[in-house]
Symmetry: C2
Subunit: 385 residues, 2 copies
């Protein structure tokens, strides 16, 4: 058994939204197909993967730096011990051969796109959903999800925000996250008041500053937000400014959440060591699609546990089927969802609706892309000759 | 005045060397030309830049993510206040528009390649060498350089290492750096003994583990190296493992050096905050070509100073004319050199020989690429139509 080819294609994100920092309208996502020589029920096994939003133009890295290192291996260098499947750990190690240590950025996203496609193939070869393959008997078949939205949109205003939150509630979500920091504090507090009026209590609303604030403004928001008792205050300052984070934590009684912009096990370890986070209060949000993929995410979960953190404090960023699978496999606290945006990459299976804040995991072998028609149609274009 | 075009070209590194981690033979470097509408002495002003070794395949990032953000600006958005030159700070900010915070990796290298070319153009427009433009009266016209080599080469052995060190001494260098960690400790100590015999004293020899060691091996080497009184022990462990670095520092009396694999002001700040480094003993080696370029490097120097560090403890990585210019401009402790390797990107002006460990800075306007014939010939291929 062997990998015959790895194909990459850059696909535009059709998303006319912005958060406090980023306008996504000109970006693309690299989708990857790992084409194997294995036939299951008359069909060739093909693993699919893609990376996260915001770090685009990965083609050169994927096609000219990482893929050749896999294609020059002999199959027996990446087959598992039993000889019945590929070994994703060996394949990831091969991609990182000749890489310098440190500086975890775009490389981590490019590796992830390929590594995720490898895991999709591996689970398909094992004829099981990835969440079951990884989690075994301990996996949860249903996971908590929350609706992340509340992006700024000049035209939509407070009324539009209300409509959005109502739509999430109608669609079965129970918690909502909205953006802050793109307007003045006063305007942001009005947005928060409007959302809370519909959600009922502070623990059902999280707010996200997307790493925008300097020290003064982080403190200003922390002080103003405290009495709301929000679920969490996300990325107050630069995601790598561990000292600033520790200062906000020391000042703010409720939960802080961060971690989506840390792209490696080492950076995640540094966060837990240096950023003052409280394992019984705060949340972490590492994104497998931004941080070398599934294998590294599993290492991060082990590192958290060995530092006394419960996996219930881990809510992976990403809003896609891969983050959902890992949440199910390892009983993480819950999974982010971006209803209706970053399509067709974002979101879960077509057949699994959100009910009372929970969603069922897909039963298809692999990550479950075949159960989301628009996404599967798009990914299939990679393998039509 | 305006930037007419930004061109990028990937050029193979012809280098058959390896350190403890990396084989460079399949890599390339992105060279960039910033083509302006300005004519000086009958010739069009063109700024050149390139990035550092090891993080290759940057074309997609440079051409499709960063360059378009500059080319869509109006010239008055990037002209300085006096109206007589471009403003590199504004141009760098434009490249980072719509970028998510955190995760500093390949993006930092791609931005650097363009930003360095912009600074080269700016100094040419000002008709002055970059080191004078940045350093003014305070700049040093002559800087200390050391020879970084001692790469592993199975065929060359200890005799080859001796020949190499002797060649550096013959060519005017007084300090030498060699690799460690690619062989057993015993074999590495034999290499160190051989080099020291020629150099005379421990402070003329540095050793570099390239971030290879785990905790056990870092301690083993630290203990074994201490009595040699070496200039420095470089990158014992993962460059982002600040706690491990602090443990090595606590155990090792002599200097530790690190920083080349930290790609941003924030990462550099974290190093000084969390890695236990002693401002009066240890060295830092941030590389402008790996960390967003000249503007960010200046911010790093300011951050160091505000944390009580002398610039004499800063020896930038890179081994090229840009690192040399910054060393001269800001009176940094010295500049790394890789005699004969990473050609033609590595090395300094053809006319400036090393004498007693020092080299004169170039007098050509800009970074000085025009004074290194093989490099200039190569860069010129970017602008031949």
């Amino acid at each position: 058994m062997q990998i015959l080819e790895i194909r990459e294609k850059s696909i535009p994100i059709h998303s006319s939204i912005r958060n406090a920092v980023v306008d996504f309208s000109n970006m693309n996502i690299s989708a990857v197909a790992v084409i194997t020589d294995i036939i299951k029920e008359g069909k060739r096994v093909i693993g699919f993967g893609f990376n996260s939003n915001g770090r685009y133009s990965q083609s050169d890295l994927i096609n000219n730096r990482l893929t050749p290192r896999i294609m020059e291996l002999k199959p027996d260098e990446y087959i598992n011990k039993k000889g019945n499947n590929f070994d994703p750990v060996k394949l990831k190690a091969a991609m990182l051969k000749n890489e310098k240590p440190g500086g975890h950025g775009e490389r981590a996203i490019a590796v992830a796109a390929i590594e995720i496609a490898i895991w999709d193939a591996v689970a398909k070869i094992a004829e099981t959903p990835l969440w079951k393959l990884l989690g075994g008997q301990g996996a949860q078949s249903k996971v908590f999800v929350y609706a992340a939205g509340g992006y700024y949109d000049a035209e939509k205003g407070i009324k539009g925000l209300r409509d959005e939150v109502n739509k999430y509630l109608d669609n079965g979500y129970t918690w909502v996250k909205i953006k802050i920091g793109g307007m003045s504090l006063d305007q942001d507090l009005k947005r928060i008041d409007a959302a809370l009026e519909l959600l009922g209590s502070g623990d059902k609303l999280a707010v996200d500053a997307n790493g925008r604030f300097d020290r003064r403004r982080a403190f200003q928001y922390a002080d103003a937000l405290e009495s709301y008792g929000l679920r969490w205050f996300e990325e107050p300052g630069d995601p790598l400014d561990f000292s600033l984070n520790a200062e906000v934590v020391a000042r703010y009684r409720n939960a802080i959440a961060t971690g989506e912009n840390l792209f490696s096990l080492q950076d995640a370890t540094n966060l837990l060591r240096h950023a003052g986070l409280r394992s019984n209060v705060d949340y972490v949000q590492f994104d497998p699609s931004l941080a070398y993929g599934v294998t590294e995410n599993i290492e991060i979960i082990k590192m958290m546990s060995s530092n006394g953190w419960s996996v219930e404090q881990f809510f992976p960023h990403g809003g896609n089927l891969l983050s959902l699978a890992l949440t199910g496999a390892f009983k993480l606290g819950g999974c982010e969802s971006y209803p209706g945006v970053f399509q067709p990459f974002g979101g879960f299976s077509d057949s699994n609706l959100i009910e009372n804040g929970f969603v069922n995991l897909p039963e298809e072998p692999g990550i479950g892309f075949e159960g989301k028609a628009d996404l599967h149609n798009l990914l299939s274009t990679l393998v039509r000759d």
